[in-house]
Symmetry: C2
Amino acid sequence: MSNITGDLALFNELVEALLNEEDKNPVADRIEADKLYESIDLSLNNSAMVDDEFKKVLREVLVSTPKTATNLFFNQLFGGRQGKAVLGDLLAVMLNNSMYTYKVAGPQVGIEQEIIRQSCDLVGYGAESNGTFPTGGSMSNYMALVMGRDAKDPSSRAEGVRKPLIAYTSKESHYSNAKNASFAGFGRNNVRYIEADKEGRMIPEKLEEQINKDIADGFIPTYVTSTAGTTVLGAFDPIDKIADITEKHNIWLHVDGAYCGSLIFSEKYKHLLKGMERSDSFSYNAHKMIGTPMTCSIILVKDKKYLHGSFSNDADYLYQTDGDDFNLGKTSFQCGRRNDALKFWTLWKSVGTDGLRDIVDQQFYLADVCLEYIRSNPDYTLYSFDDSISVCFNYKNIDPVTLCTALYEHQITVVGFGSFNDDTFLRLVTINATNTKEDLLNFFKVMEEFVDKNPEKLV
Amino acid sequence: MSNITGDLALFNELVEALLNEEDKNPVADRIEADKLYESIDLSLNNSAMVDDEFKKVLREVLVSTPKTATNLFFNQLFGGRQGKAVLGDLLAVMLNNSMYTYKVAGPQVGIEQEIIRQSCDLVGYGAESNGTFPTGGSMSNYMALVMGRDAKDPSSRAEGVRKPLIAYTSKESHYSNAKNASFAGFGRNNVRYIEADKEGRMIPEKLEEQINKDIADGFIPTYVTSTAGTTVLGAFDPIDKIADITEKHNIWLHVDGAYCGSLIFSEKYKHLLKGMERSDSFSYNAHKMIGTPMTCSIILVKDKKYLHGSFSNDADYLYQTDGDDFNLGKTSFQCGRRNDALKFWTLWKSVGTDGLRDIVDQQFYLADVCLEYIRSNPDYTLYSFDDSISVCFNYKNIDPVTLCTALYEHQITVVGFGSFNDDTFLRLVTINATNTKEDLLNFFKVMEEFVDKNPEKLV
């Protein structure tokens, strides 16, 4: 029905146009949300579209889509483009395997398992460890929560949740913790948000106080998330001290490293994850610090029996050959599952573990460039701390919400804002390792120029 | 850090090799699972790899990965390659947007919403409907289960599951129903598997009997899955009759159309979905019948307030501009989310709704080709029925498990087996719409030749 060679040629033509456009306009020409449908013909119709018209509208879509790979995109906890990872993901589209069985995924199973095995070694988990590729950081946290629930209250799997199970996390943790508690039958109100210190790290003493209070009140402390890289400040909860508490009370400890768990690759910064080998599960997103295309999330479990216990299911029509270790559907939430491993493997294979270390370390170097710039310039107020790739600041006391919206609407740069305690500020994320010192200094330059020349747009 | 142009050139070179290999060997040379790691160098090491060696190992991986796009792959509920959908997914890799906010996804939000709006129209849902793109059919069913739970027992969201909630599905439904009941706090034992008739369809009278019994026993009937295309036989539960019961008892009705919900595009076959507009939610996988790359799952909800009620969450650091209708993270399980919509949109935009109809109808035509062949040949026993793209049969009474394993191991064709009641049989899925009548007749030819020439391999 379709000539794939022709479609690949069209892909190459459109990508060339996209790359040129990225060079020319690193920030996309923004279409106001309420004018979207009148600006581009996104409509789907009964009849086929003539090839030339199809190409034209597709080009319009590409040009007006926010550009996440350029050196002026700092808005999110991802950005940039690692070529070898892009290569792997493009190939995954062509191969289109499903990761549930060895019969249909073949060596891709080994690719996934090799990443998991090496990652477990880096975390310091032992021979019983294993893992899987969830669909993102929220799903990683969810799988950990379900395992923690089933470990503490094994009857919940067959009979349902009937007990007052409690989950703990810090006030600075990711919002999926609240949603997940609802999904898994705990209920949102049964999440305790533990206070953070002045640098955004969970205070272990407050955690233990709360656990003791809950036990006294007849609740069942079940699960703790320790965050490695909080969403706003990029702070690291003290895993080692938290593990002292979870081990004492027999509570599942998960390390949510969606943002900064990739520090397992850095000799220089992995001390921020001290104690991680004492956790029960650990997750990180290679589509964040490592820079693969979305999504590439990995959850590691110290004892794989919990992964099997909570997620396996028999299905004769599906698991027809080869052993359980090769039929990965037995340890995943999903049935059919996209190949999210190949892109990470092509990058890792190509640059080596040493190359991944360099990718991670580069981001801290870029953050230091920013910190130095900000600290040496009295027009700035700094709100973030060392050892973080989230650089938080305000410029000339301009309202950060107004400023970052204006920067976006005028195609200057894409950056977001965040809040901690009573402060709100710009949050610049130095997560694109393909950026250089000059790229970051350029960010400050274009922002300052915009502010100084357009005071009327910032009131 | 990386020259993307060079990596794109390498992609093109490798794809050419892959397409040639598919022509030459439509079934991959299978590596035994226990010999995988000694056959290909999948290891990840500290040092970077020289480009030539990297290319060599990547080529080996591609050649030995099971080929899902050829005319001899019938194993799974997907297969083939729709060129315009491949184009869209390759572009999605390059764009690398996350679908949570309009700020970062821009017109891709409109692309997703246009697919959802048109799909809701085809199902017959009204103005209050909406939907999202979950990560697969299991997740679609899970989201429906959570919405059904929260609709019946609103306190479960905040306070946790504390009541004996019951879910219903047929014995022939997908295994995710059991897993999901565990994940959502119902418990696996609180799923009732309703008997199916001799063609594999849920018997509505048995459903109502069970509901009445549960009410009498103090349970709370909460959720029913009606399957549109069961996993083995491809059967359709009678939605209209099931809706009579769920409406009467105020129970959430979900239509699991992961496999065959794409019949919404077929004038000729959509009668198999009669009553679908009475359901509360409806899901289908465009990566199955429509033939997009993995994954492209869509869940539609008749009243979007349930989608918001169960899945929304405030996150100031994320949802910074534009309204809720454009910030899709407010209605998804995930936070960061891959763009799974573009591939479907490029195909739909290009071939039109009429083209999607042709893709769907072609699969029933191919199934009819197979049924006719089997019925006219006394060496075959047929186990499946009309109006299904799962063609189930045995040949010369050969054990189907032995046969399909031998066909796979000898690179003849990739096909699976299934069971219904006491019978086990080969299951040929005519889901690759790029196949022709000749491709299907060729399947029978190569299978018969293999059997007739290799009797010793089938004992």
